[in-house]
């Protein structure tokens, strides 16, 4: 038998393409006759457009057109009676401005430089109205919608009666999606009712779905290509107004058009992690048994959509606590709509909860690891279900040993190295382990190679590589002979890549389609091949890409060759069953950090990181490790450096570039040990793999702020922890 492929540290199947420039991202495509677009964006934050004068722009060299609400061609999907403002921003629909940076026109020219220059010549006049971009100024207008149910288990606010308790407020600022690859799209109407797109997306099918209604086209008339994505982290889970603007312009001008956003536009046009103000009340008995948790959160959204996420959910289920209540509200600000950003709401919530646990441990004079162990949930306290698998205690133990947790001083400010204060901190993270529905096709070729297709995405984690490994184990065919193709809307249906569920969902479809392929091969063999003729399909074994019956072995390829079949294709849809009603399924992470804090300058340097993942079977230890490190780097940004600053007088971002919005650089990123529990989840899916993308970041910021407290005795509850906050 071949060595199992799942669990190996296999190189990425597209690694060579990526490092040699062979991978073609959306912007690398160049349909014949393509034009370039630049956006004209609003400098006001609320009001109306009173006039657009494009005369000079239209006269500038190379300009094809300037499209705005004044000359937009009819958009079938826009013809909705009484447009509900909560439907999302309809680009170029009317003269309304909801937020600063909202596109008001798109300029198209035959070179990028000409488009960008002409965009500066478009004169737009506005009637300005009062705007609000500051959450503090709008807290009294916080609201809940019907998806935001309060939660209560046991008694509300029970923490107030606890012998040891605390209440604290935690704030995170807006964090902006800043992957290396800028967002955008190439839109090409091949005929008036046939649209081809090169997109940056986490789901080609979802792009198709969104546009189907807007342009009232059948799915088959919309083709979306997105084979490579240069980092998305949630920003490409939906289609944005700037993409629709490009498609509209391409329809009007009847030429393919490419739009690539500027870095500045990334702050306003592709979502962001919303700002959140959270309050936690937490109480315990003197020996550390939690008696009550109250978690309240207010986050911002846009004027035209309610963006909600799972900010307060971790508090409901992480610890065995009899009394828990949560409350979550939104504040509508004159900003664009937020979107999921890695770890999404759970990461926001985990910062508050896992900081509060640390604060409580300090009050109890107890090791925070000990406090977590005392309150470990053996069954899911929210759903009242057993876990499909949970190795959190082992994860705590592994992480503590690796970082040298015993060196931590319970009293803050006691350790020093070379003039720097030393602190240790930890936190936990949790994220639902999902499994959706996906379809895959498997095509076996007469040369023995296998091609599997599914309209999945790879926004970076190495999806194709993992799928090849899963298919190799399911079929026994060597990894080198298997290809997994993704990112094309013509492929079988797969959900968007998000919520750490691709391996679980698409991987299951790959596994199942391979099993069906084997079944089909068995059927062919028993029907037509003499050596297998008298056998039942169930009695045929499969090994190393061969059919086996007693001493007879036949290559899969030979089955096709003998039948003179060029190929054999099978398509299978796979989804979760009832098991999701019987078990609570979660991935868990544990983060440990050792930090240095300079006592004079307030500078924080993370010296060592240990992150442990309980994510079931690890399909590929190499890509999984990278996945965890990537999440940790995002967490370093959340903890120490990232904050989008708005001048509320103008409602405008002031640090909207890579120099002033600080994503962590290599020098901020210390040695990171990634450890895996790597034990198969017996329930969730055939591979036993839970998700990993989100837990890598969830909780991480608290591990840093807890370490900073341990180093200095100063508790920073407002992220990021910049030097000024420790002076």
């Amino acid at each position: 038998m071949k060595k199992q492929a799942v669990g190996q540290s296999m190189d990425r199947v597209d690694g060579r393409l990526k490092v040699t420039g062979g991978a073609r991202y959306f912007a690398d495509h160049q349909p014949e006759g393509m034009l370039y677009a630049a956006l004209v964006c609003s400098p006001i934050s609320s009001g109306r457009i009173t006039a657009i004068d494009a005369t000079r722009a239209l006269r500038a060299p190379g300009v094809a057109d300037v499209v705005s609400h004044l000359n937009v061609p009819p958009i079938p999907g826009y013809k909705v009676e009484n447009p509900n403002p909560k439907q999302g921003l309809k680009i170029f629909y009317d003269d309304r401005i909801y937020s600063n940076g909202q596109p008001v026109a798109i300029v198209v020219a035959n070179t990028l430089e000409r488009a960008v220059y002409a965009a500066t010549l478009v004169k737009v006049t506005y009637a300005q109205e009062v705007h609000q971009t500051d959450m503090a100024g709008s807290i009294d207008k916080a609201f809940q919608n019907k998806n935001m149910k309060d939660y209560q288990r046991g008694e509300a606010d029970a923490w107030k009666k606890a012998p040891v308790s605390l209440e604290a407020e935690y704030n995170i600022p807006i964090e902006v999606h800043n992957p290396m690859e800028l967002a955008g799209i190439i839109a090409h109407w091949e005929t008036p009712d046939k649209l081809t797109l090169y997109a940056k997306t986490q789901g080609v099918k979802s792009v198709q779905q969104s546009l189907k209604t807007l342009f009232q086209l059948p799915e088959s008339q919309i083709t979306v290509h997105s084979q490579f994505v240069g980092g998305a982290f949630g920003m490409a889970l939906r289609i944005w107004p700037m993409e629709v603007a490009t498609i509209i312009a391409a329809r009007k001008i009847r030429k393919p058009i490419k739009l690539v956003l500027t870095r500045k536009d990334m702050f306003t046009l592709v979502g962001y992690r919303p700002a959140a103000k959270q309050r936690i009340g937490i109480g315990a008995t003197a020996d550390g048994k939690l008696t009550g948790i109250t978690h309240e959160a207010i986050a911002n959204t846009s004027p035209y959509e309610d963006f909600t996420e799972a900010i307060v959910n971790m508090s409901r289920m992480m610890y065995a606590c009899p009394n828990v209540n949560t409350h979550y509200q939104l504040v509508s600000l004159n900003l664009s709509t937020p979107v999921w950003m890695r770890g999404p709401g759970e990461a926001t919530g985990a910062f508050a909860l896992e900081s509060a646990i640390d604060e409580l441990a300090h009050q109890l004079h107890m090791d925070p690891l000990q406090l977590r162990l005392i309150n470990h949930a053996d069954t899911d306290p929210e759903k009242n279900l057993p876990y499909s698998s949970k190795y959190l205690k082992e994860a705590y133990e592994m992480g503590a040993a690796k970082i040298g947790w015993q060196q931590r001083s319970q009293t803050p400010g006691k350790l020093e190295e070379n003039g720097w204060l030393v602190g240790y901190g930890m936190s936990s993270g949790v994220f639902g382990a999902g499994r959706g529905r996906a379809t895959a096709s498997a095509t076996l070729k007469a040369d023995g190679s296998l091609v599997i297709r599914s309209a999945a995405a790879d926004i970076g984690p190495g999806t194709a590589t993992a799928m090849v490994q899963i298919a190799a184990d399911a079929t026994g065919i060597d990894v080198k002979k298997i290809k997994f193709l993704l990112g094309e809307s013509e492929y079988p249906e797969a959900p968007r890549q998000g919520g750490s569920s691709t391996v679980s969902t698409v991987g299951s479809a790959v596994n199942d389609v391979c099993r069906n392929l084997q079944q089909k091969l068995g059927e062919l063999a028993t029907a037509n091949i003499p050596a297998f003729k008298d056998l039942k399909v169930e009695n045929i074994q499969h090994e190393d890409g061969q059919l086996v019956a007693g001493n007879t072995r036949l290559d899969y390829a030979a089955v096709l060759q003998q039948q003179q079949l060029p190929e054999l294709m099978v398509t299978t849809t796979s989804q979760a069953g009832d098991e999701r009603k019987q078990y609570a399924m979660y991935s868990f992470s544990v983060h440990f950090t050792k930090v240095h804090v300079h006592p004079a300058t307030g500078v924080v340097r993370i010296k060592h990181i240990v992150s442990v993942a309980d994510s079931g079977t690890v399909v590929n230890t190499k890509t999984a490790r990278s996945q965890m490190i990537g999440g940790v780097v995002g967490g370093i940004g959340m903890a120490l450096t990232e904050e989008a600053l708005i001048d509320h007088r103008f409602g405008r971002y002031v640090n909207n570039n890579y120099a002033d919005y600080h994503v962590p650089v290599n020098a901020d990123t210390p040695p990171t040990d990634v450890l895996f529990i790597n034990k198969k989840d017996p329930v969730i899916n055939p591979m036993g793999a839970k998700g990993m993308g989100e837990i890598a970041l969830i909780g991480f910021a608290a591990a840093v702020s807890n370490a900073v407290f341990n180093a200095t005795g100063k508790r920073v509850r407002d992220l990021p922890i910049t030097p000024d906050k420790l002076i």
Partner: protein, 326 residues
């Protein structure tokens, strides 16, 4: 970006002529700042005069005076043996700035001439007296965490962003200038200006004048020097505050001292009074604290940058400790 013409003269005189003839013309050296300003629409020169052909890329030592040509790259200066031996403070300051990629493009003259990083200056939809005199100062009453605590005016509270210049002002460098009216020398401390009522003028370089190089006199500051830069991330960020500290210590007594700060004023901020408190003293933390207190006496803060005063004091003490190795 607007359309512009581009010339690349081979001689200094031709470069000066080219710039003098055309009021909106600009020299371009590494382009690392100028191009960003043009892309943002802050500057729209109709002509670029590329000076990279001029023979101004050199580092020499004559009669104990170190000469650096204006086109010498930041990375070359930082790594040069003469600089590392005679003026290690300058090497440290350069290496604290930007990134290696930028330092490989950025020139000595361009670094001195770089504009402030004030966000309002870069955003043409915002008020800014430096960009558009009379339009108001966006930073006053706005986001001003990065802004000045010394020498600002009610017209402008921007800071000069350079690290290199902080070392140069501490080392008493001289700026060598050639212009339509001939050559002149400007002491480094008088090169950059305070904003006053003319925040649009960063420095005292006249119309048509070209920086040809700088000179650094012989200095005793080869052992006890330290450039401390406090910033929001470990690398590739502008200073919240920075301190260039240089001490000449013998027999446990400070013979001479230099202190300058970055990130705190519209010009590289030399701390003469604080230096005086150190001379003749022993290098102790107590004496450094006295210097730090004197250094920050004239500080004035705005809504978001009050932290810079204690940060400046602590950083002065830390930099002096590092320099003195105590």
């Amino acid at each position: 970006m607007n359309q512009f013409s581009y010339v690349r003269p081979a001689s200094q005189q031709a470069a000066i002529d080219a710039i003098t003839r055309d009021s909106s013309a600009r020299f371009i050296a590494g382009g690392t700042n100028l191009l960003d300003l043009m892309k943002n629409g802050v500057l729209a020169p109709e002509k670029l005069v590329d000076i990279n052909r001029l023979p101004l890329r050199n580092i020499t030592l004559n009669n104990n005076i170190l000469h650096i040509g204006a086109l010498t790259l930041n990375s070359e200066v930082a790594a040069h043996p003469l600089i590392k031996t005679h003026h290690p403070l300058l090497s440290q300051a350069l290496l604290a700035g930007a990134s290696q990629q930028l330092r490989n493009m950025a020139t000595t003259g361009g670094n001195m001439m770089q504009r402030t990083r004030c966000s309002y200056f870069y955003d043409t939809t915002m008020p800014c007296n430096k960009r558009t005199p009379g339009s108001g100062c966006g930073a006053i009453g706005g986001v001003n965490r990065m802004h000045a605590i010394f020498g600002a005016s009610d017209q402008c509270i921007a800071v000069h962003p350079s690290d290199m210049c902080i070392a140069l002002v501490a080392l008493d460098a001289t700026v060598l200038v050639a212009g339509p009216k001939g050559n002149r020398r400007i002491p480094f401390g008088e090169f950059h200006r305070l904003p006053g009522n003319t925040p649009d003028q960063d420095n005292n370089l006249g119309k048509g004048e070209l920086i040809t190089g700088i000179e650094i006199p012989h200095s005793p500051f080869t052992n006890h020097v330290y450039y401390l830069k406090v910033r929001d991330r470990a690398s590739y960020a502008f200073a919240l505050v920075s301190v260039a500290a240089a001490l000449d210590i013998s027999n446990n007594t400070i013979r001479d001292a230099r202190l300058a700060m970055g990130g705190v004023a519209h010009k590289p901020w030399r701390l003469h009074e604080a230096e005086k408190t150190l001379i003749g003293k022993t290098p102790t933390v107590e004496n450094f604290r006295i210097a730090a207190t004197v250094a920050t006496q004239s500080a004035r803060t705005y809504q978001h940058n009050a932290f810079k005063v204690p940060m400046a004091q602590n950083s002065i003490v830390t930099a002096l400790q590092k320099a003195a190795a105590v």
